[in-house]
């Protein structure tokens, strides 16, 4: 048996059910791994060791009684610090919420707890999920386990790095414009962004409400399927959450993709800024899918090039309202060194928010302002509709679409920090799926210059089972996902 921290989630679940290992042993192994490595990687903002061991004990009792055992019972997980955890700090990696303890659990946390999962801790992120490198964390940047000089991507960089470094077998992140898929690609793990409305957003601290989705990180498509199974489904507390029935995802993992129509969107592959090494790895992955019997077709998503622009209007617009509640009156950071109400409000926000958050609040406020609304926000909504239409047409001809998840491999820490626009372009392949509300997954697909390259598989709305099937089929014939960084 390999070291406990090297187990996939599915294998660990099997061993737990067979009582060959206990959840306490498993949890302890990951806590030790965190202890050993996280000083260098800095994936976690908080490690909840005592709580984890207590939950592990409870899981062991459940496993012993053989009652209410689910595939996640006793499985330790890392949770992005944007997801509300009752009485446990939920900081969004922001000074504003540094000491905020929500009085309630996010729906996904309730579901994980009901399934018997164990929480190892909360993971680092770009402040309020705004960024693509986790460098915008107000606390510290997270390092890519494959090269500590590089970023893990973002905004869910902490969750991606934790899984990549074997500090957790699975994790939750959130994806607004690629915040799960891009770090998954850069860290050589699986990251799935579900269809908008597949997973409840209740308890997910909002960045851009019409784009945000919670999704899983894992090492394999099967593990991601198990995590999604646990958290998906309708929620009376989220009116945007769909009533569409949740299929049995693992049952769909047949390894069979013969005859499946896989579209290759030309605009993605020919995008400016595409790293040739990344393109080559992506092409090899497509060839591998063809060998598995899939039918590869070129398709066009003509409005792709407007995606980033539309996204950087819509997301900041929504964010400017979502972040208005942080006024220092009710919770979180509060500037109190004045008797003037308006000064207190201004200073609270001046000191509580970091530069990227402020940049997006200003952008969003601007595009919604009288006289600019039509030129920006309304126009962006039209682009959004056109991008959704592109996908509708593509999915008439294809079952899934594939492309690299990111145009580059992991970049150096600090490399793009001074140029927000270059940072924004890193999400060029992931943003359209959020705008269209469809699902996507990034899976390990090879290496360029020794750094991971992720393959993005996009599916139609509520076609998670299909993209998971393709991902699983690919992983059955490749070993990229089993490769580990040297740490």
């Amino acid at each position: 048996m390999s070291a406990l921290h090297e187990l996939t989630l599915s294998d660990a679940a099997t061993l737990l059910r067979q009582r060959q290992i206990s959840s306490v042993e498993l949890t302890r192994a990951f806590l030790e791994r965190i202890e050993a490595l996280d000083g260098r990687i800095r994936a976690f903002t908080l490690v909840t060791a005592d709580l984890a061991l207590q939950q592990a004990q409870e899981a062991d009792q459940r496993l012993q009684r053989g009652e209410q055992v689910t595939p996640l019972t006793g499985i330790p997980l890392a949770i992005k610090d944007v997801i509300c955890t009752k009485d446990i700090p939920t900081t969004c990696s922001s000074r504003m919420l540094e000491h905020f303890r929500p009085p309630f659990n996010a729906t996904v946390m309730e579901r994980l707890q009901a399934a018997g999962a164990v929480m190892l801790g909360k993971t680092n992120m770009d402040e309020f999920a705004m960024g693509s490198s986790t460098e915008h964390s107000a606390f510290f940047p997270t390092h890519n386990p494959w090269d500590l000089e590089r970023t893990p991507g973002g905004s869910s960089g902490g969750s991606a790095a934790a899984v990549a470094a074997g500090m957790a077998p699975g994790a939750l992140g959130s994806d607004t414009g690629g915040s799960i898929r891009q770090p998954a690609a850069l860290c050589n793990v699986v990251g799935l962004k579900p269809t908008y409305g597949r997973v409840s957003r209740f308890g997910l601290v909002a960045f851009a409400s019409s784009l945000d989705q919670i999704g899983p990180f894992a090492r394999t498509a099967r593990d991601a399927a198990l995590l999604l199974q646990a958290i998906a489904g309708p929620d009376p507390r989220d009116s945007t959450c769909s009533a569409t029935p949740v299929p049995d995802y693992t049952a769909e993992l047949t390894g069979e993709i013969r005859g499946l129509r896989i579209g290759v969107p030309v605009e993605y592959w020919e995008a400016p800024g595409m790293d040739p090494g990344v393109a080559r790895v992506g092409q090899e992955a497509v060839n591998r899918l063809r060998e598995l019997g899939a039918e590869i077709r070129e398709v066009s998503l003509p409005h792709t090039r407007y995606g980033v622009a539309a996204y950087y209007i819509i997301a900041p617009a929504e964010a400017s309202a979502n972040l208005a509640r942080y006024d220092g009156v009710k919770y979180g950071y509060s500037y109190r060194d004045t008797s003037d109400m308006w000064e207190a409000l201004d200073k609270t926000r001046q000191y509580g928010f970091g530069p990227e958050v402020k940049r997006r609040i200003m952008l969003g406020t601007y595009v919604l302002s009288a006289g600019y609304y039509d030129a920006y926000y309304k126009q962006a909504q039209k682009v959004r509709a056109l991008i959704a239409q592109d996908f509708e047409r593509a999915f008439e001809q294809c079952d899934v679409l594939v492309s690299p998840a990111s145009p580059t491999v992991a970049f150096k820490l600090g490399e793009k920090l001074s140029d927000p626009y270059q940072m924004y372009l890193n999400d060029v392949f992931t943003i359209p799926a959020n705008l269209a509300g469809i699902c996507g997954i990034s899976i390990p697909s090879g290496f360029s210059e020794g750094l991971p390259v992720g393959l993005q598989i996009l599916g139609n709305a509520f076609a998670e089972a299909t993209i998971l099937r393709v991902a699983d089929a690919f992983q059955r014939v490749t070993d990229y996902h089993t490769q580990r960084p040297a740490l």
Binding site: P102, P103, V205, A324, R325, Y331, M341, T365
Partner: protein
Amino acid sequence: MAVPAHTEVATEFEIVIGLEVHAQLTTRSKMFCSCSTDYANAAPNTHVCPVCMGMPGVLPVINRQAVAYTIMTALALNCSIPEYSKFDRKNYPYPDLMKGYQISQYDLPLSRNGYLLIEHDGQVRRIGITRVHLEEDTAKLLHRDGYSLVDVNRAGTPLIEIVSEPDMRSPEEARLYMQKLREILVYLGVSSGRMEEGSLRCDANISVRPRGQQTLGVKTEIKNMNSFKALQQALEYEAHRQIEVLRAGGTIQQETRGWDESRGVTVPQRSKEYAHDYRYFPEPDLPPLVISRAWVEELRARLPELPDARRLRYQRDYGLSAQDADILTEEKALGDYFDQVMALSSQVQDRQARARAASNWLLSEVVRLLHAHDIAPAACPLKPEALVNLLDLLDRQRITGKQAKEVLDEAFVSGELPETIVVRKGIQPPITDPQALERIIVEVIEANPKIVADYRSGKTNAAQYLVGQIMKRTRGQAKADLVQQLLRAKLDEAPTA
């Protein structure tokens, strides 16, 4: 500046007024969470949850009842109900706004294009309703000891905004519109309609223009009017102020002004609190509302009788005076009581006579007792059955009017049926048989020859003594008017030999 009579104002200038009315809906729970709206007597911040406190990560869920109430209000105001509606975020920073934005409705409200009829100086005026939309109330700020304290209990209470067209032409019309609107909201049961408590609030847009001018003058927005009286007074003051400014060659500043009740003036509000670009955009946390036609019809069918219809029915079906019909309509509980009395009087042949009697007894005696005991009409301890019973006793001439009042006083307090009280007190039926009465009258006349002589010599007052004697002999059981009539007939006869 003295406030002149508004009649002077209205000659050379025309006043133009539009009202924005906010009414809290009487749903059990708040607009977007399950907190109770019954916080009136609760300690601050006890009717709150993460949702109405605007905690990070929470999401709103629409209260269907509030949507139903809004549609019912809109239907009562003759509005059309579009099939498609949505919520929007109205952004402005203020500590009474938990999320930093208010969930409201911008370009696709639940209803639009209605009207309300008011009667002014005997003329019916049609006041256009631009829209009725649904939003959430804010928290309450309490300023004391140099601190501003926030009570979140009110935050998230469903609130409808009823926006009128600038169709009112005098402060009095504005008051009449507001009163009529309140009446309708109370009839619908969607709002308690209490201006003094703030469950019904009103802002006014007012401008003046030289008579005959087509374009509107520059308007001011008037806030902080907490009663119908304050509304009329504030607008009278403001109209006069604007006219004075124009007469002096000045221009009106477009601004928000607050009514200072104690000083009787409107004063400019601090601009920082109101001068905002609200940056409306569609609320991404709530899917658009699709209002099915079937639901609208279901709600239409559920509309109760509205004040105008009731007023008309009372006059047309029951022959009540316009004044009585008004009083019974304005105080809905009295009208409801009256309707119950009439429903319980189904066996009575002369409906109009019964209606008039019921209305008279209700509006004079029952209202007198309610006042005396300081009880609201809705909580009247005298059941309609009891009043019907009393009216029946009167119709059967089982008791006299005077006795009926005494019985009513008792029934009001004890809750007994009037006939039970009549039996318990041994009240005898009035002597209504003229022959029986005549015998007693003859006896009294014969026993008092001196008085009779006085009467016949022209001292007609002397008859009163005889009436008293007769009433005494009948122990009050005789009907006074009948006694009078028979006695005079007897006295005016030629003296018996």
